[in-house]
Amino acid sequence: MFSFLKLRNATPSILGVVFILFPASHYAANIEAGKAKAQSCVACHGPAGNSVNPEYPSLSGQPAQAISTALFRFREGNRKNPIMSPFAADLSNADMNNLAAYFASEKRTTAHVTSPQNLSLGPELANKYNCTQCHGPNLQGLQHIPRVAGQQHQYLITQLRGFKAQTRSDMDGNMSSAAANLTDNDIIILSDYIAGLAEKPAP
């Protein structure tokens, strides 16, 4: 019924190049270019994007689209932060895609140790409040949804309190909606639990 559309001036050689460059990944972004650009990021976000400051988020091991989305929204002024906004202001879309590819390629490490009590309370709360619904069963993130497993403890608390108070920028309203029912005690427990998750699956 339909013929294959002809690519403009498509020749086997061009198709070959396209195939080699983009075998299966969604991003043609350049990890090396991202790494070079990341020199100013790691001062706060830690070596390879593994933050050592409880206030600053880790970027390592994030889904690439989660990073590029956050950077884009800082640049466009949808999400505001006095420290972060100026860094995003001069980045091009290609820079953002490269940075995203780089940090996504790095491995997340965390030194946070969850208290035994919260280790037992956490999984049920994460389920009850639908965290796993979007962030994935192991809270590793997916597409534009950030990985929260192994994220900095204080950063998580600040974000969740912000979402609950509707002061934290929220692209689609989903996080504000999800956080609306949290008590502050829930936030403390969840943040302690999630910050201690590394690669291990949530029970």
């Binding site: 339909f2 559309l5 983009f22 969604h26 639908n130 534009h144 008590t183």
Partner: protein, 410 residues
Amino acid sequence: MKRKIISTLIMALAIPAFAQQKPDEPPPRWLQGRSEADAKSTLHPFNPKLTGADISELKMSKLKLPPGFNIDVWAEVPNARSLVRGSKGTIFVSNLAANDVYAIVEKDGKREVKKILKGQTAPNGIAFMDGTLYVAERTQIKKYENIEDRLDNPPEGILVVDGLDPTNGPGHFWKYLAVGPDKKLYFNIGSPQNITIPNYVQATIMRVDPKNGRLERYAEGVRNTVGMDFHPVTKKLWFTEHGRDWMGDDKPSDELNVVSKQGENFGYPFCHQGDIPDPQYGKYASCDQFTPPALNLGAHVAPLGMHFYTGKQFPAEYKNSLFIARHGSWNRNTKQGYDVMRVTLDGKGKVAKYEPFLTGFLENETGDPPMWGRPVDLLVMPDGSMLVSDDYNGIIYRVTYKKPLMTASK
């Protein structure tokens, strides 16, 4: 005294209970209306790549069109959504997630993309009339007069109407905007939830006269429409409508509707696809009270922009055909949509044929994500070519037609 003690006691008991338990708190919006049977479902909406795709990443060779048609990349605009053309040839492009409005102008044979409005709130709806650009944001419509002469220094917007999101609801707050043959602006106010009884202005198509600001309800019982056009001959309003979620993979169908007279009701939240009573609200009404769809478009296909083809470039049988951009499903285990469909009407204005036109964005129907691109809106250009926006990649494609010189086989 005794009564006071008792009431104090009740309060003392009740307050901690209230603080802990909030029985009336609604579920998060994307779970609203989900049944217990789906409680373990991991289905979720897909978000656009806001930084856009590199052109070299686009899988253009996967796209399919009928013989003689071709497609190429026409422009890059982050999160490109609605498309309209100014009378001097400017193409305006709206955003939903990125909060800007762009203008594309051809200059010295080159296409230039300019960001003309920033910091808008979900400015999905745009329309152009008599030199003025109208922008529908979440709560208001503003106008930008004489815009094409002021693209580098756009004027402040002048308010046409506000109060368009009365409950600050979590869902369907974005608008689609169309200019009617009566020179009024038509737009949707969506249902604030997946499934709920809407208030007086919600789940409607409204219209406002930009001359005097007079606001009317034009159609009701419309869960959410993000695509409208007026038939070139009959001048009736046709629109696409998204059906509710969490009723299973195959129901209800999304709809193509036509309004024959002001005030018609299309059934939401009581009746879906013309013949399925809602599991929760269906008992309060009967499907035969409502105007049935002109066509059921498929379950969870998410029809967005739709336009009648009024150009001269495509073959003659395409005249007044209706093209529908289907954004594609999320609330379906096996995904469908992610294409542009063609609807042919017969001499009486009834649907005669519904067939694929532009396909190939859907790569893996059970993948996550299942697609590499998502069509949003369409625009027929003066030369008869058709633009297609893709908000996922931040790309505008152009579909052209050239009669094949030779046909090798049938």
